[in-house]
Amino acid sequence: MTWFETFMNGFTLTQAWIFEHCVNPLLPPLGLLAYQEEAFDATEFALVGMGEVALLILIFRPLEALFPAERWSGRRGVRVDILYTLLHRLGFIPLVMFVLMWPLTFKLDAWLRFHGFIPYTLEDLIPPLENRPLPTFIAYLVIIDFFSYWLHRFQHRLEWWWALHGVHHSQQTMSYWSDDRTHLLDDVLTATFFSLLSLAIGVEPGQFILLMMIPRILQSLAHANIDWRFGPFEGCLVSPHYHRYHHGIGTGSESGQSSCNFAVLFPIWDILFGTANFSKETPPTGIADQQEGRDYGSGFWAQQRLGCQRLWRALTLGKA
């Protein structure tokens, strides 16, 4: 048996044990037994999330200590981002989003099919992908990254959306924990967008659970406090430096049209659409008005509440 098979066996047995002893017994009293298979998948999601968080700590924490882009007097400001990361990667927020998106992804899908429209999958649209799950997964990764780029641009371009996205950019001690620091309403908008996209092109094959960790880990790396550029490959994959410039005060962390480096995984979109900036400068992260004393909150609920207030101002006064 190879090490990978041994690892997968261990993973499977752990997942089954947790599911059968901790999750499954809760389903009947909660009236959720009909969702047993979804609960089994959610157990896997949480378990993979735990492994992912462990990997982040083991790999990125030493790298942040060895090659810091910024030197901080302490890591106190990072703590709230750890909470966001755990809420996202252990599946709590994805679970809420799944429930919220249910009417859209399932009821609308059902309604469309009932009226004779069967939504397409990417394999329908690109026949050579049929029966080739790995190329299909990669194709989805590229397409989703393309749409993520444009979604990200609108998060900066639209004042009311920037009011929410500001939560993500308000981190002045940006680390590998910062990727999931988002406003909950921002999460709802993003989930809605990708639910609609999944109706148009389907969802990526779900069998590559370990492969699906890679883009999430790369997004954490992009936020890490590591002074790394990828040299000749800087234009191929978003580096910590490239994304730090996007979060920089006065460089990228802005609303309106002055921002840059929106790409999530592949900078090709910034290059193609004229928003790439490969400056070697390493600016401090945060939002300009924080230097004038504007409070974006230091705790989870304060950040959420202030985000709602900014949204209200943006909707009523036109400026967050």
Partner: protein, 318 residues
């Protein structure tokens, strides 16, 4: 000359053995793959991608191919189980989860668990005849012996529905108990047995009067059925309790229960009646039970979330 003769004879013997090899097909719903297993040696033959979320499979009425229903790919794949070759792919079949042919081979029914629908197709050309919107989560199905009715469990709304295939109308919907799953006709054709997961029991239904006539306590998470093939006994898997029970359909009682690990789900019985094979949903395995001892004697590694299982040669399904 003698060497040539021996070679030819050896090749002939090998070919004959290969032809006799009995193939088991397992659907790994969580990774979209098929594992083919040699039933005699218990060794996997091959493992390949078939589509997204293949949950259930069954033979065409003329046994010319095996149909694999890919729920998320929205298609049916026609497979040669002997060779593993994909013969053709029928696209644009909306979310086929459970599938079944009526006994008269006239109708092909596909339940869409995710989208709350039951689709009835003409079995000759898979042309959609009627689409029923049912609340909610249509799961398993069984047909009346005269092919006039398909019975569908509604896992989300705790009901059993009867659809008249001749008039193409819903005949009745009755409450059956919390989270019903498998449904099967008793060998005498008089009753339906329904696995009620949330109540850990089998509900016995007189489908002519749409009445529950008996509750048979079973194991935790009573889920799915498979006839033993003797015209009397039926296996029922208890997916949360990791057991399989045997129901005597003449006395409508459970006669035996034995452990099977990892979420026992779909089952097949060998043609000689000696073995029961079961997909273990949570642990990527298939269990083989020796029916002379009712013990798991082998586990065979397969793929993620194994669900449907099919024997080329199986015991009678009644």
């Amino acid at each position: 000359m003698r060497t040539l003769l021996m070679t030819v004879l050896t090749l002939f013997s090998l070919t004959a053995l290969t032809c006799r090899a009995e193939v088991v097909v397992v659907l790994n719903s969580g990774e979209g793959t098929i594992t083919r297993i040699d039933r005699q040696s218990y060794q996997p033959i091959d493992h390949f991608y078939v589509g997204r979320e293949p949950h259930h499979l069954m033979s065409l009425p003329d046994n010319s191919a095996l149909i694999v229903a890919n729920a998320v790919s929205n298609d049916l794949v026609f497979l040669d189980p002997k060779t593993g070759d994909i013969l053709r792919r029928l696209p644009r079949i909306s979310d086929p989860y459970q599938i079944g042919f009526s006994p008269d081979k006239r109708w092909f029914v596909a339940n869409s668990l995710r989208l709350d629908r039951v689709d009835v197709y003409d079995a000759r050309d898979f042309h959609l005849v009627k689409r029923f919107e049912l609340a909610s989560m249509p799961s398993h199905m069984a047909f009346s012996p005269d092919s006039s009715t398909v019975f569908v469990t509604l896992q989300g709304s705790d009901q059993l529905a009867a659809i008249d295939l001749l008039t193409r109308a819903v005949k009745w919907v009755i409450p059956i108990g919390k989270t019903p799953a498998g449904v099967i006709l008793t060998p005498d054709g008089k009753h339906l047995l329904v696995g009620v997961m949330g109540l850990n029991e089998v509900a016995v239904v007189d489908y002519k009067t749409a009445q529950i006539i008996k509750h048979i306590p079973a194991g935790k998470g009573t889920h799915n059925f498979m006839p033993e093939g003797d015209g009397r006994h039926i296996f029922v898997g208890n997916r949360s309790g990791d057991t399989v029970s045997i129901i005597d359909t003449q006395t409508l009682t459970i006669t035996k229960t034995f452990p099977v690990p990892g979420g026992p789900d779909d089952m097949e019985v060998s043609a000689d009646g000696k073995e029961l094979w079961i997909t273990n949903r949570w642990i990527r395995q298939v269990s083989v039970v020796d029916l002379s001892t009712d013990k798991v004697v082998r586990t065979i590694p397969v793929g993620k979330s194994p669900h449907g299982i099919f024997f080329e040669h199986h015991a009678a399904r009644q």
